[in-house]
Each structure stands twice: as C-alpha cells, then as structure tokens.
Symmetry: C2
Subunit: 197 residues, 2 copies
DNA sequence: CCGGTTCCATACGGCACCGTATGGATGGCC
DNA sequence: GGCCATCCATACGGTGCCGTATGGAACCGG
C-alpha cells in the first residue's frame, strides 16, 4: 500500500529523465553519468540500460521534457495580458523570477556545443524572441526593428541570468532587486513610441 | 640550430598555461586534461608534472594569464576617448568584436561553479562594470543609477555573447550586425540626458 | 501455483583521466 | 670532458565512466 512513499520500487523512463534534468541543473550536461543517476535513484546501471539504449538517449529525453514543460509554462504565462508594455514588464519580471527556479536553462546555454542541446536551445530561444518581437510590434515598431529590439531584450535577460549565477554583481532580492528590474525595464522600453502614458 | 622551428624542445610553464587556455576555449575548464595538453604540445605527462604540481595548478596559471592580458587589453582600449557616449559605443563595439577572438570568456562564465574560476570572473566583471558605471556618471547619472545602468549594459553584452555562441539569432557579420549594434547602443544610451547632440 | 514478461543487480572489459615513481636525456659550468 | 641540476619519457596503480552479458527477482495472467 505505502509503496509510493519512497522510490516506488519500479522506475519509469520519466524518472530517469527527471533525474538527468536535475543532474544538468547541478553540473551541466557532462555531469549526467549513468551510474550516478542510478545511485541517485537508488538503482544500478542494469535498470538504466533496460529503459534507455545509451547515455545520450536519456539526455535527449531530459531535454525534450524540459522543452515541453518550459514552453507550456511561458505560454500560459503570456496568454493573459492585453497591454504590450505591461506585458513586456510582466514577461521580464516572471522570467527573471523563474530564473531562480529553473536551474537548467543556464547550463543548457553553456553546453550548447552539443548539437542536441543546441537544437533545443535554438528552438526555445527563437520562440521567445518571436514573442518579444510581437510585443514590440504592438508597441509600434515595424517588424525588423521589433525583432532587433527583441534580440537585445532577450540578450539582456540572458546576461542577467548569467551575471546572477556567475557573479555577485546583481541584486536578486530585496528592494535593490526591484530597482534593478526597473532599470532593465527603463532600458527595454526606452525610445519606443509610447502613446498611452 | 633550428630548434626554434617546432615546439622548441623545452617547454616553459607559460607554454602549458597557454595550452590550457586553448583547451578552455575549446571545451571549457573540464576539458583541461593533463595528457591531452601534453600531446597537444608534443610532450608527455612527465614534463607537465615537473612544471606543475597538479591539474588545478595549470588551470590557475591559465586563469591568471587570461585575467592579466584581458585586463591590460581593455585598459589600453579605454584610456583614449574623451566623450563618454562615443566611448561607451566604442567600448561595446570593440568588446563585441573582440568576443569573436576571445573564446575563453564564455566558457569561464559557464564554469563559474568552480571557485577559482568564479573569483577571476568576479574580479573581471566587477572591474568592467565599474568602468561602464563611470562612463554613465560622466553622462550625467548619479552613482547609484549609473551602476544600475552599467550592470544592465554589461548584462546585455554578456547575453549578446551567449546568444551569438549558442544560437543563430544574432547577426555577427555584414550590415545586419551594424544594425543590431545600433539597436544595442540605442537601448544602452536611451534615456540618458544627452546635452551635446 | 506456474510460466513468461518485465524490471533490475552483479560482474566484466574497455577507455580516459589523475598523480607517482623512476630512469634517461639535455644543458650549463668549471 | 666531467658533474650536477634541469627537463622529460615510460611505466604503474587507482578511479570514474560507458556499455554488455547474464542471472535473478518481481509481477501478471491463467
């Protein structure tokens, strides 16, 4: 009856994929090691190689899982908010706040020399830039300029992530964080023709 | 007589450090492997362990080398240009152009979980942010706001680097690159009180 | 209760890596 | 030219990793 309390005796491919995702979060793609995954799940390689053909396979499963969940999350986050300016602000706010939780993103960026990782990162990035570009278009920019601005905005986001993780330069909590986010938004919304304020 | 043509017979610690730097550029800090370094220099481990006590030692030497040269380069780059606005633009231009050459920076950002790497990255980042902040102060911002803006600008730079390397979203050559850099500068200089244009 | 499928542990070979030990080559110096 | 310090190659033990092989436990239908 209470076999669901611990590691459920039997393991599913999804369990392995999530463990791999956790490993990626902690040490990047290279730290996804079969034996370590196994021991983290209280199992051994024998189990792993029954579910997956190779190490690459579980990495791909983990990436696919991440891409799916991640995309869904951002979509549901975006789909309610009419005003482009506040939407952009909410987008940046949420995305930066979520950066603390999603510890996978930055490692994936870092390990984009791996073709599979690069594909996933490329798709996710393209999709996000597209969203931001649409928002900028709704703010009055033509498609070309909107896309340029979107790339810059997204670069600012990525750099923010990177600086938070790699240095102590960026305030991440307290009032200083709010001020900093204000600075970001001030920059991102800057010379956009704003006709409702 | 002509012993200087190939790998100079004898190796200096600096040779090993530079080889380690090259390895970092290609595969990050984890790819600094003693035997591979040796074979890339046409030598063996025996030589390495005479010059260095451990793998960590050569990594630290490489990081120190990079920090030194990198700092010098940016200093000499900055020390001639009076006007803050054009200096900021030149800074971004040069720094982004140099990003193509300096293939070490991004791997270091990525491997900043390593304490030694984190220290170096932290120092370099702090120094650069400080420079940019000073430039913003000369543009009329008070110290606090200037630093906020500097962090945002530096984040934009880092994100730009990251996106160039990890995706195909950012134009890096041709007229599109100029346009994109213009977009960056437009954003970074945006609501700064500009009293000479 | 029994046979087959599903799931997993143990044991193995192989590779890349770290660091040590030890002998040999090379170069300056008197 | 002989001696000592400098520099380097070879050989070794040890670890972590991948993937395979094979036997066994757990579960399910009859």
């Amino acid at each position: 009856m209470d076999d669901a309390t611990r590691t459920t005796g039997r393991l599913s491919p999804d369990d392995w994929a999530r463990a791999a995702l956790e490993a990626i979060a902690e040490g990047g793609v290279p730290s996804v090691a079969v034996e370590r995954l196994a021991s983290s799940l209280g199992a051994t390689k024998g189990s792993f190689y029954w579910h997956f053909a190779s190490r690459r396979a579980v990495i791909e499963a983990a990436l696919s899982l991440w891409e799916r969940e991640h995309t869904d999350a951002v979509i549901t986050m975006m789909e309610a908010e009419a005003d482009p300016a506040t939407r952009l602000r909410r987008l940046m706010t949420t995305i930066i706040a979520a950066a603390a939780r999603d510890r996978v993103e930055l490692p994936l960026l870092a390990n984009s020399d791996d073709p599979v990782v690069r594909d996933v990162v490329g798709r996710v990035t393209a999709r996000r830039v597209e969203w931001v570009a649409q928002t900028y278009q709704q703010l009055g920019l033509d498609p070309g300029a909107a896309r340029d601005r979107a790339v810059v905005a997204y670069a600012t986001y990525v750099g923010h992530l990177q600086l938070v993780r790699a240095t102590d330069q960026v305030p991440t909590t307290g009032p200083a964080a709010r001020v900093h986010l204000d600075a970001i938004m001030q920059v991102l919304l800057a010379p956009v023709p704003d006709d409702h304020g």
